[in-house]
């Protein structure tokens, strides 16, 4: 790859809006970079992509990127995206939502969009907290964590978006963290090619409000901890998380012995699909079914000799 990453980004951003208003070290910048890279590697033009965002820290992302953008009301991003997709079926619609935006106030809209299997790539950024309004508990706040509205630790169970996506009928669900930037880009690329509702949950960090009250006040420490948090779904990451962060001192080789048994077995394990929790092959999106139904109705009317009544 000869093209440098930052050169890609400059073409897809609105430079007058940068630098972003997000806190220093916030993972939303990494997510925005991954989305832009995925769109670039898929060869999509800027005018063929629409980004719909709700309210929250994530809502600003549609303003920073130079696509067709709608900044909608709280939680209603899938509803606006449904209308946009029906009006312009040729357009690639991406909705970007936070966890409170998608699962709390916009839960019904998210479920309805899944049920209809709308052709939307929905990206849900899960930072375990309401970040914009000051760190209140959100539906995904883990148990026994402190927030500004749960000073004596949360006792409610967090919502599991994976189970909701299975029940709602989404054909694709993937989960990634902001630590694994390359796999994040690949997952978004894959989600863009799904016919139907592709849901990508991205675990992000809010070290300013969530981490400060939960002994993770530094951005790098909180992002590095995500390796340990995601190990349940990925045994390979569990193995990597047990390695020290820096293996050798400066100037020495940093590559491990690639012929050792451990390295070979980890390469063999690496061929598995990582991050994709489930995918239903052969899903047909809403707009394709809808427009073919309209064609059928029109053909039947013409057959009956009553065109366009």
């Amino acid at each position: 790859m000869t093209l440098q990453t930052s050169h890609i980004l400059r073409d897809y951003m609105r430079p007058e809006t940068l630098p972003t208003t997000w806190c220093a070290g916030c993972g939303l910048g990494i997510i925005m970079r991954s989305i832009v890279e995925a769109i670039h590697y898929q060869g999509l033009k800027k005018d063929d992509v629409a980004m719909v965002s709700g309210i929250g820290c994530t809502g600003r992302m549609s303003g920073y990127t130079d696509f067709n953008s709608i900044h909608t009301t709280h939680g209603r991003a899938p509803a606006f995206a449904t209308g946009l997709k029906l009006a312009r079926p040729d357009m690639q619609v991406i909705t970007i939502m936070g966890d409170g935006d998608a699962m709390s106030i916009g839960g019904n809209h998210l479920i309805s969009a899944m049920r209809r299997n709308m052709d939307i790539t929905a990206i849900v950024v899960n930072n375990s907290i309401y970040g914009l309004t000051g760190g209140q508990s959100s539906p995904t706040t883990p148990m026994d964590s402190r927030t500004t509205t749960a000073r004596h630790r949360t006792f409610e169970r967090p919502m599991n978006l994976e189970v909701l996506a299975r029940a709602g009928g989404a054909p694709f669900f993937a989960r990634a963290t902001v630590n694994h930037t390359a796999s994040l880009t690949k997952l978004i690329e894959r989600a863009l090619n799904i016919s139907g509702f592709a849901l990508v949950e991205i675990i992000s960090n809010c070290h300013v409000l969530y981490g400060k009250m939960n002994e993770q006040p530094v951005a790098s420490g909180m992002i590095a901890n995500m390796d340990k948090e995601t190990m349940r779904s990925n045994p390979l990451l569990k193995k990597r998380a047990s390695y020290p962060v820096r293996e050798t001192a400066t100037g020495k080789t940093y590559l491990r012995d690639s012929n050792s048994d451990a390295a070979q077995s980890s390469v063999a394990a690496d061929t598995k699909d990582r991050g994709v929790i489930f995918e239903n092959k052969g899903s047909v999106g809403f707009s394709r079914r809808y427009f073919s139904m309209l064609e059928n109705i029109r053909a039947q009317k013409e057959h009956a000799g009553r065109p366009d009544d």
């Binding site: 000869t2 440098q4 990453t5 930052s6 980004l9 400059r10 951003m13 940068l18 630098p19 972003t20 997000w22 806190c23 220093a24 070290g25 916030c26 993972g27 939303l28 910048g29 990494i30 970079r33 930037t181 390359a182 530094v218 951005a219 790098s220 992002i223 590095a224 820096r246 293996e247 001192a249 400066t250 100037g251 940093y254 590559l255 690639s258």
Partner: protein, 81 residues
């Protein structure tokens, strides 16, 4: 396996965009980057850079950029042409 080249890469840090979050310094595997007194990244170990781009990929503010010698804005490329 790809050959690892040391010390031929330029690192460009845009201080207008940088928010001094420290992610690039934390992720650098070769101790190329360090923090100055205002916590902005500096490059005291530029000769060790191997172009892994972890700093560039983890920068949330698009402030850091690794330039290979083939790049037209690299200092050696400018000298040669």
């Amino acid at each position: 396996m790809t050959e690892i080249r040391h010390g031929v890469f330029d690192i460009r840090i845009d201080k207008n965009y940088c928010k001094a979050c420290g992610l690039c310094v934390a992720w650098c595997p070769q101790d190329v980057l360090a923090e100055d007194e205002e916590l902005y990244p500096i490059t005291p170990g530029l000769q060790n850079c191997i172009n892994c781009k972890l700093c560039e990929l983890h920068c949330p503010d698009f402030a850091i950029e690794i330039l290979p010698p083939e790049h037209p804005e690299h200092s050696k490329y400018k000298e040669a042409n």
